[in-house]
């Protein structure tokens, strides 16, 4: 019998620690499929964040390192500068990348560091139990915004791709999601493109993936996906915000 669907080679055969319904598993798979298809597992070093994906070092079969909170892109810079022929990716959540790690993110981007950044935006701190993230929406109820995020007090949610797209060093800044088969397919193409850009030495790529957190949103998976469509996508529009190497008219 022909095998038509199997575990990507670069994903380890171990139980994941993610909650039921979480989309981290899908995003891991897309990263792993890209690594497999490009045949780069042996040269790849992945950098895990602090947050829900902290233990991703056990889930990918390439070499892995776990970073201090927010510092993944500085750490990735050190690896890439030490071994320029390696393929280095970071896998970070919204708190890690857009709050505590904002400086490291902006400066890795503006240096045009030749790395691939997978940014999982689920508008909440998952690991610590559902606090306000830099990307939590206006009015969003979280553990630390029990009356809803009041932008007069807590400020406004950060649009990371739009912000980074203004920087000269960024080769690719694209926002995708994984809320349907169609968007998963598009997300896969974007992630693979980001790795391809790194292999071609084109510089910094960030793929922001709008994701869900059923546990901390307090919604079923199905309702979470709908919440994402209704609330996140209007504020965080999908699309390519910068592609330095886009072919004329192909954007």
């Amino acid at each position: 019998m022909a095998t038509i669907f199997t575990r990507p080679k670069s994903i380890a055969d171990v139980p994941f620690s993610y909650c039921p319904g979480c989309t981290h598993g899908i995003i891991h798979r897309l990263v792993a499929e890209s690594i497999d298809e490009l045949g780069i597992e042996g040269n790849t070093v992945g950098v895990c964040p602090v947050g829900c994906a902290v233990m991703a070092y056990d889930y990918f079969n390439c070499d892995m390192i776990q970073s201090p909170h927010g510092r993944a892109q500085a750490l990735a810079t050190g690896i890439k500068r030490a071994i320029p022929e390696s393929v280095v990716f970071t896998y970070q959540g919204d708190g890690d990348l857009a709050a505590i790690g904002t400086a490291e993110t902006v400066h890795a981007a503006t240096r045009g560091e030749n790395i691939t950044v997978i940014f999982v935006n689920n508008a909440i701190y998952g690991m610590t139990g559902g606090q306000m993230a830099p990307t939590s929406l206006s009015g969003q109820v979280t553990q630390t915004t029990p009356y809803g995020r009041d932008t007069a007090i807590a400020g406004h949610p950060v649009r990371v791709c739009e912000m980074l797209a203004t920087l000269e060093g960024v080769a690719l800044a694209q926002r995708v999601t994984v809320e349907s088969l169609r968007t998963v397919t598009a997300a896969k193409q974007a992630i693979k493109k980001a790795f391809t850009y790194q292999l071609e030495g084109k510089g910094y790529s960030i793929i922001e993936v709008l994701s869900i957190c059923p546990t901390n949103w307090g919604l079923s998976t199905e309702k979470s996906l709908q919440w994402l469509r209704d609330n996140m996508i209007p504020y965080y529009p999908l699309g390519v915000f910068k592609d330095k190497y886009a072919k004329e008219g192909a954007k």
Binding site: E41, G42, N43, T44, V45, V47, V54, M55, Y57, D58, F60, N61, C62, D63, M64, I65, Q66, S67, P68, R71, A74, L75, A76, T77, G78, I79, K80, R81, A82, I83, S86, V87, A103, E104, V106, H107
Partner: protein, 354 residues
Amino acid sequence: MAEKIIMKGNEALAEAAISAGCRHFFGYPITPQTEVAAHMAKRLPQIGGTFLQAESEIAAINMVLGAAAAGVRAMTSSSSPGVSLKSEGISYLAGCDLPCLIVNVQRGGPGLGGIQPAQSDYFHATRSTGHGDFHILVFAPATVQEMADLVAGAFSLADKYRMPAMVLADGMLGQMMEPVVLPEGDSNPPPPKPWAVNGHKNIRSHNIINSLYLEPNDLERTVVERYARYEEVKRTEQQAEEYLCSDAEIFLVSYGATSRIVKSAVVKARAEGIKAGLIRPITLFPFPDAYIDKYVGQAKVFLSVEMSMGQMIDDIRLAVNGRKPVAFFGRTGGVLPTPDEVLGKIREIAGGVK
């Protein structure tokens, strides 16, 4: 024999790091360590190395973390307030068992403090340079020559014991110019690093570098294993200079730039017939307690002289363990003690012990 040249301590240290095989420097500007970074910025591109000015001390130490994890000799340098910022990364480096070199050209503190020489980061360097149960190797040069000479050993022992190493200098050593013979070539090639995350090349299983252990017994086991290594370090790696110790009764203990001032005071005291001697720790972790122990029988008193309010004195007290009195003299905030001030303290003590 290499020629003797005049160099600033910071530059001598930087050049020695290159000789020791370091090709990756990540830093952030701060006085009074500026010349380390400036020298690296000039030299590393000439020899295919990486000099990168990071956006912060925090980013710089995490770049070191990444480069060290990838298996190369990497370093950063800073001064006191900047080293505070590096504490997080140093804790992770220790927790990940990664070798690297951190240079602290100390200035006065706390807070922004001042920019003049101080030794008030002794606690930070030797007690805990970050959160958690760990130590780092700490070397204390006292001359520009030692700013160069201690670097290769620091890298080498960091590699051997898989732990971060620090050169704890001060603004005086960093800024002063002295004749120095630079080390020639790479006398300490790095050992193989089979644990590095540098791509498994499909010939080994994947390496993981990590400091997270959610199971307390696992975490305890890693810390206990690390402390067994620290015990070996304490047994085998202590370094100190003994000066006029053989017949001494008053033992001054002083490190770094201060020890040179103390040496002058000891010479003056000897001229007055006071039997003073100096034990100069060269390693601060491991603290050379064997040298204290060696002389504790003949000593009447120990006198710690520091550019701080008294930090190393705790280690001297621990080594003396109540067997003899331990006195203190210090200036802080960037103020250098004078030989006559130290001599005054020696006379006072000599009067008391006669």
